[in-house]
Structures are given as structure tokens and as C-alpha cells.
């Protein structure tokens, strides 16, 4: 299934998500199994299958990483950690340092530092997204262009994991504050 075709969206990275959400909703209105409760089995099955595909397409396109993966796949490239080039040693080094800094900030319960590290990484994620936008802006990129863009996927995944961790630490701090307010020791 090509999620772009399913939702009638152009094959690019920077999609108008609010317009796509509307398209998803209109497609759901037309295809949802509830609308075919009185129909025959063949129509019910066809509608169920299409409605599931439409939902899957929307789930892929609204997530930057999965949307990028779908763009590479549409160009015939296999994605996933085993199919993509290994990250550069420089990037890996940088990443390790960032992770250590985050672990230290968490241990020191330094929430301001945690937030600052998160802001830094999310700015870098944005920069990577801009490169993907530019790379896929003019129709199909060439093989060389695609090869240059492919390592960005791994970077985006790393940033996602890092930001998830930042959120988990913030949540942990929040729960601790709430427990403290109730007079329960964490």
C-alpha cells in the first residue's frame, strides 16, 4: 500500500497535516464499517479492508519517521536499521556524549539541564526534517541524492528515542512532585 496514494497526497515530506486529517476523516465517513452495517458481506469486507488501509496510511503519514520511510520505499529503497548505512563515527560519538549528559542530568535531578538537552536535540531533528523536505521537494530524487538522504532516517530515530527519554524523565519528576504534594515518599 502506498500511503500517499491512499490519501491522495503528494509524495513529499512537508505535508499539510491538517488538510490530510480532513481527508482522512472524509474517507472514514465514506468507508467506516458502521456505514456498511446493513450491506452484504462483500461490501462489508471491502469497506473494512479499505477503512483499515486508510487508517494505516494516515498513521504512516502523520509520523515524520514513518512518512520519511514511506518516501524512500516509494523510490524502491529498503529501509530499517539492517538496510541503511551505518551511522558515521562522528555522529555516534556525539550521540554518546549527549546520552551521557542526559543520564547525568537525570541522576542530579537537574530538570533545567534535561529540558535544555531536549531543546537542543529537537532543534537538530527539525534541521534534519528540513533537509528531507528539500530532498523530496522536486519529485523523485536521483540515486545519489537518495543515498545521501538515507542516513537521515537513523538520525531521526535516534532523536526520537532521545526525546522520548527526555519526556520520561520529565514525567518521572512530575510524578515525584505530585507524590510529594500528597505527602507520600516516592
Amino acid at each position: 500500500m502506498d500511503p500517499f496514494a491512499m490519501l491522495g497526497a503528494p509524495r513529499r515530506f512537508d505535508l499539510d497535516l491538517s488538510a490530510l486529517e480532513k481527508t482522512h476523516r472524509e474517507l472514514s465517513r465514506a468507508l467506516h464499517p458502521d456505514k456498511f452495517a446493513q450491506a452484504g458481506a462483500s461490501e462489508r469486507r471491502a469497506a473494512l479492508e479499505k477503512a483499515a488501509s486508510v487508517n494505516e496510511a494516515w498513521r504512516v503519514l502523520r509520523d515524520p519517521i514513518r512518512r520519511a520511510e514511506a518516501l524512500f520505499q516509494a523510490e524502491g529503497l529498503a529501509v530499517g536499521e539492517t538496510n541503511e548505512p551505518k551511522a558515521s563515527p562522528a555522529f555516534l560519538m556525539e550521540v554518546m556524549e549527549e546520552r551521557e549528559a542526559l543520564a547525568d542530568a537525570r541522576a542530579a535531578r537537574d530538570l533545567a539541564k534535561v529540558k535544555a538537552l531536549g531543546a537542543g536535540v529537537s532543534a537538530r531533528a527539525k534541521a534534519v526534517e528540513s533537509r528531507l523536505t528539500a530532498g523530496f521537494a522536486g519529485g523523485s530524487p536521483s540515486r545519489d541524492e537518495l543515498a545521501a538522504l538515507l542516513p537521515l532516517l537513523g538520525e531521526l530515530r535516534f532523536y526520537r528515542r532521545f526525546l522520548d527519554e527526555v519526556e520520561a524523565i520529565e514525567e518521572e519528576a512530575e510524578e515525584r512532585a505530585l507524590a510529594g504534594a500528597r505527602g507520600v515518599s516516592p
Binding site: D2, A5, R11, L31, Q38, E43
Partner: protein, 654 residues
């Protein structure tokens, strides 16, 4: 004024009136049935004008089964034979921790090889939660039939946080009760539907649903008739019952008795007393009562009391548990509490003042409570039943619900590979590809789990099966594709296929917790053996209704899109319709079923083309708003159809 009674009379005495669809709230503590009457949802009341039927089932010595208030009256005297709050046991294994909590029941350990479900020993009999729930549903069906004569399909509500096994058990109970289950509907979504249609207001809402035994929180957006659930969370073993238990433990403390030394009837008596104290504390600051029995702390009949402040303290840890789920759901929905336009309260336990003030504090606004929190779910279910039966007027209403807990497969090292994450909109489908770990591996063991934890052992096991018959290959060569499908009821089906050899087994999934289809079928036959109805006559009536519906719907489709028919297709479909109509006028149920299948086969291609047209039209409708982009889109579609994308890669098989 003079009009209403006459239209009521017409409804009752019109012999041609179609069967009325109903909505059922199958609750932990109470259950209700509702239907749409003159475009308004209304609950069905019993002869005492009560809508709530206590979810209590008593199994008498003479084999009689009593449901509701009369069963409740026997609970104290016959605690083991009277099942209260059976919903807490739905879809659970015979060894579930739930069976070890404070309660008066005698459980039977399932025999080796028998389905792993909870079994209650009630006198001479052994019953499962599905059968107990079916008794409640049957009694609600009869209540509705008394008022409506003929009952059509039913929408049955379930807590949003119910997992697959719990949903399947609920659907089985519906079937066992002789109901055509149109849909399982999430309780919070039902409540939102009742509120949304009432208020015709767009916005973002939280539904805080604290029932007798389950807690759910759901964040949803209502926009132009579409109710889109953004996130849901909760705890399927937390509810008003836990408040009763906390109060019961307090009563034991006041009497100086150990709860563990109490007899089953004493436990029942204290739990009932606790519930009355809880209800009393809704309006009063202190509730006085007599000690139910003697103990080191109080003689039997000695005056005791519990104050609201003490109750609030007892309830506080339970509310704190709901808080974590609320924050998680808001985060999953990407919303802050202040963005919400309203908070809807559902469930009897939300009448407790401490709950209301806690909700107001957590969400920063006074909760809505203008529809009775104990009726709102059944009212919403009735609206949905009406819509599904094609009897509704609000054609543009649509509910888009989600999967409450992630679904995945156990891979190397006992780790879960998530295939459908929580909060994925249903219906949903996703595929994943795997490979073999060892040389000459001829089978794949597939373990399906549900939950958020990393390790399969910490998640709920839904099913296990093996795909066999794969020819020996070098490790990593085989390519297994697993497809997960979740339907609009939130129920999962799993399909596995080996790509290189084409070995494909429509594997029969043996549920880890729950009854297999044969067992349910047997229960159904047993229930009918008890002389309730003539099975053959009922079966024929059912397939005739189904067949007529299929014929009507097919004719409608033919009239709507004649240009999509291929040469000769119309003739084939029309001949299949004629055959089916012939079968309907006969008396052979099996023949009707076969002719339905034939018509189904004849319409397969046409149905697919109709769906494609529906998609194209919906996209076109949207494109009119954004004309420029639509030109780009159309070009993309042509190119994209040429080749479908490759599968996601095989995850590392550790």
C-alpha cells in the same frame, strides 16, 4: 400532550413495525438497556420503574436462575451461589489474581486442556463468567421485549480499556444470550455520543469513567459529527467496588475482626453494608450504622460510624491511581488539561463527592453531569444501535475509536515487537515480516500479546499458534509475514504466511484466556435444550432477516453505480438475487446461507469497485477545498498504483 400517547399505542400495536435495535450497558454493578423512542434515547424500566438492573445472578437449588434485585436479596444468605460483579472476571484466566481478592466465591481449577477461564462453583453446577453475563443479558433482552415486543440487534458497551480477551468474552456472552451483537462499543465513546448529540457542540472532551469495577479515561475530539478518540487509558481492575472493599476493611478494623477469618456470608454482609455507607456519604457527612457482628472492637449491634473525611482518605489512593492514567492519556493525545472544553463523568462511582472534586482539580474545570452518569452509556449505545440498524436520522455521525493497548508478537529473547501501537484508530491492519533463527526450522511459534511492557512475559498473552510445514532452509531465508487485523469492535484476528513457499495457514487461534468457538456453540445448544426456543425455527428466522437485508442492499448498490458493472456482471448478480429470493421463500436455512454466499461471490468485484469510487469521491470532495494541491495529488496516484511498496524489513531475530 394528546399526541404522545397515541403514537405510543401505534408503536406497540403495529405488527409490521421492524424489530427495535437496543443498546446495553453491561456494567459491573448495574446493567441497563435503552432504545431510541421518537428520536430520543430512553432507558427501559422494569415494573417498579427502575432502569438499573443489579448485575447479580443467583443460581438456585432447583436449577432456577434469578437475575437482578431478587438475586441481590439472596446474596447475603447464599453468597457462593450468587455471583456479584462478574464483569471483573470476564476474559481472565482461572489463576488470575482477581480470583484471590476479598470475595465469597468458590472457584474451580480448570481441567488440563480445558479453556483457561474462571469457573465458579454454584451448588452442583460450574459456570463461567461468560455464562453468568449471558444470564444478565438475557434478562435485559426480556425486559426490552416486554416493552418493544420485537428486539433487533444490540450494541453492547465495554470499558475502553478492555483487552481483546475481555471483549471477546463479552461478545460470546451476547451470542449466548441470543442477541445479534451489532457492535461492541466503548463506554466513554457511548457517553460522548449521548452528550454530543444532546449538545451539538464541537470541541475537545475528556470522559472520566469510574464504574463498579473498571476505570477508563478517554480524550476525544468532536468535530462535525465525527467523534474521534485521540487516546484512551485506564485500569480494568479499579472501580467503585474497590471503594466498597476499602470501606469493608475499615468496618472489619472497627469491629476488631480479621477479614481473613470471616465466613463468606459475613464478607457479603460487610460488603453490602460498605456500599450503603458509601451511598450515604454522598449526601451526609457521617453515616451511623450497627456493627454487623461481634468482635474484640465492638459487640454485634454496637453503634459505629464512618465520617466523609475518613472515607475521602480511604479513597485517595484509588484516585491517585486514576491520576496517572489521566496524565498519560492527555499526553498521548498531545493535549494539556486547559485545552479541554469539557469533562464528562460516567459511572455510579463518580457520584462520590471526593471523585467529583478530584476531577475538577485535576482537569481544572467543573465536570459535566447533566445526564445521569449511570444511564449515559446505555443511552449512547441505543443511539449507536439505531444508527447501525439504519434507523437513525443523524447520517453524518461517525465514531472513530482506538485500540486501548498495543498489540504485538514475541520475538527473540522474549521481547515484544509492537505491530499495532495503542491508540491506533480502528479498524486497523498492519503487517510485519520475520525470518527463521535456526537452520532447517520448519515451524514458527507465534505468540500474540497485548500490553505496553517490553517483555512478552509482562504483557497479556492473547493467543499462541504454530505455522508448520515450511521446507528446511538456511536460517534467515524463510520470510514469514504476519498480518494483524482489528475490526470496529476492537477484536483482533491474526494471519500468518510464509512468503517464499507460499505456505499459508488460516491458523485457528486458540485464545490463551477464553472460550473457543466450539465451546460457545455447545453452550448455545445447551441453553436452548433448556427449552427456551426452537433452534431450527430461530435459525431460519435469523438467516431470512440477513438474506433480505443483503438483497435490499445489493439492489440499492446496483441502482447507485450501474456504470461500474462489467459486461454480464449485472445478469450474474441478478440471477444470484433471484436464487436467494427463491431460497428465502423456502424453509431450508442452510440453502439460504449457501445462496447468500453465492450472491456474495457474485458481487465481490463490484463491491471492490464501489469502495474505490467512494475513496476517489471523498478525496475529490476534499480536493475542491484545496484545488491547487489536488492536481499534484492526481499525478501522484497514477504513478503510485504501478507498484505497491516493499514490506517492512525483518526485525533482528536475536
Amino acid at each position: 400532550m394528546s399526541q404522545a400517547p397515541s403514537s405510543g399505542l401505534l408503536e406497540i400495536f403495529d405488527p409490521k413495525a421492524p424489530p427495535k435495535p437496543i443498546g446495553i450497558d453491561l456494567g459491573t454493578t448495574n446493567s441497563l438497556v435503552a432504545y431510541v423512542k421518537n428520536e430520543r434515547p430512553t432507558t427501559v424500566k422494569d415494573c417498579d420503574q427502575a432502569a438499573l438492573v443489579p448485575s447479580v445472578v443467583h443460581y438456585g437449588d432447583a436449577g432456577e436462575v434469578v437475575v437482578g434485585k431478587n438475586a441481590q436479596l439472596r446474596a447475603a444468605e447464599r453468597p457462593r451461589e450468587t455471583i456479584v460483579s462478574v464483569k471483573r472476571f470476564m476474559g481472565r484466566g482461572g489463576d488470575d489474581p482477581e480470583t484471590r481478592r476479598l470475595g465469597p466465591y468458590a472457584f474451580v481449577v480448570p481441567e488440563e486442556g480445558a479453556p483457561n477461564v474462571v469457573r465458579f462453583a454454584v451448588g452442583e453446577k460450574v459456570v463461567t463468567p461468560v455464562e453468568v453475563s449471558a444470564e444478565i443479558l438475557r434478562s435485559l433482552r426480556r425486559l426490552a421485549e416486554d416493552e418493544l415486543r420485537s428486539v433487533g440487534g444490540a450494541v453492547i458497551t465495554v470499558p475502553a480499556y478492555f483487552d481483546d480477551a475481555q471483549r471477546q468474552a463479552t461478545k460470546d456472552a451476547g451470542r449466548l444470550a441470543g442477541l445479534e451483537v451489532l457492535r461492541l462499543l466503548n463506554e466513554p465513546t457511548a457517553a460522548a455520543l449521548a452528550y454530543g448529540l444532546e449538545k451539538k457542540q464541537n470541541g475537545k472532551f475528556a470522559v472520566y469513567d469510574l464504574g463498579g469495577g473498571t476505570f477508563d479515561v478517554t480524550i476525544l475530539v468532536l468535530d462535525d459529527g465525527v467523534f474521534q478518540v485521540r487516546a484512551t487509558g485506564g485500569d480494568s481492575a479499579l472501580g467503585g467496588d474497590d471503594m466498597d472493599r476499602a470501606l469493608a476493611e475499615e468496618i472489619f478494623r472497627l469491629t476488631g475482626r480479621e477479614a481473613s477469618s470471616a465466613s463468606p456470608s459475613e464478607v457479603r454482609v460487610v460488603l453490602d453494608l460498605a456500599r450503603r455507607v458509601k451511598h450515604g456519604l454522598t449526601d451526609a457527612d457521617v453515616v451511623d450504622f450497627e456493627s454487623p457482628f461481634g468482635g474484640p472492637g465492638a459487640e454485634a449491634g454496637a453503634p459505629l460510624s464512618i465520617a466523609r473525611a475518613r472515607f475521602d482518605e480511604l479513597v485517595e489512593p484509588l484516585l491517585a491511581r486514576t491520576g496517572a492514567a489521566c496524565r498519560r492519556a492527555l499526553k498521548d493525545a498531545g493535549m494539556k488539561p486547559e485545552e479541554l472544553d469539557g469533562v464528562i463523568l460516567v459511572g455510579g462511582a463518580t457520584r462520590v463527592p471526593a471523585v467529583r472534586s478530584w476531577v475538577a482539580k485535576t482537569f481544572g474545570k467543573e465536570p459535566l453531569g447533566d445526564i445521569d452518569p449511570e444511564e449515559v452509556v446505555a443511552l449512547g449505545a441505543a443511539i449507536q444501535a439505531n444508527l447501525l440498524a439504519g434507523q437513525g436520522s443523524a447520517d453524518d455521525v461517525l465514531l472513530l475509536d482506538v485500540i486501548p493497548l498495543s498489540l504485538g508478537i514475541e520475538v527473540g529473547g522474549g521481547v515484544v515487537d509492537r505491530i499495532l501501537p495503542r491508540n491506533t484508530t480502528t479498524p486497523a491492519a498492519a503487517r510485519a515480516a520475520y525470518t527463521t533463527q535456526e537452520d532447517n526450522q520448519t515451524g514458527f511459534e507465534i505468540h500474540v500479546v497485548q500490553g505496553e511492557r517490553e517483555l512478552a512475559a509482562d504483557c497479556r498473552s492473547l493467543a499462541r499458534f504454530t505455522l508448520k510445514g515450511i521446507p528446511p532452509m538456511v536460517a534467515g531465508m524463510a520470510r514469514l509475514e504476519v498480518t494483524f487485523r482489528v475490526d470496529a469492535d476492537g477484536l483482533l484476528s491474526v494471519h500468518a504466511r510464509e512468503e517464499r513457499t507460499g505456505v499459508e495457514q488460516t491458523v485457528s487461534v486458540k485464545p490463551s484466556y477464553g472460550l473457543d468457538d466450539d465451546t460457545v456453540e455447545q453452550m448455545l445448544l445447551d441453553a436452548i435444550d433448556h427449552g427456551e426456543e426452537d433452534l431450527a425455527a430461530r435459525k431460519l428466522a435469523e438467516v431470512r432477516v440477513e438474506a433480505s437485508r443483503v438483497v435490499a442492499s445489493t439492489k440499492k448498490s446496483l441502482a447507485a453505480d450501474p456504470d461500474l458493472l462489467e459486461p454480464g456482471e449485472q445478469a450474474r448478480i441478478e440471477s444470484a438475487i433471484a436464487d436467494l429470493e427463491g431460497a428465502i421463500s423456502g424453509a431450508d436455512a442452510r440453502r439460504v446461507e449457501l445462496k447468500i454466499e453465492d450472491l456474495d461471490a457474485a458481487t465481490k468485484g463490484f463491491a471492490g469497485r464501489r469502495m474505490n469510487r467512494a475513496i476517489a469521491q471523498a478525496i475529490e470532495g476534499q480536493a475542491l477545498e484545496t484545488v491547487e494541491r489536488s492536481v499534484e495529488h492526481a499525478k501522484g496516484i497514477e504513478a503510485a498504483h504501478a507498484e505497491s511498496g516493499p514490506l517492512p524489513p525483518a526485525p533482528p531475530s536475536g
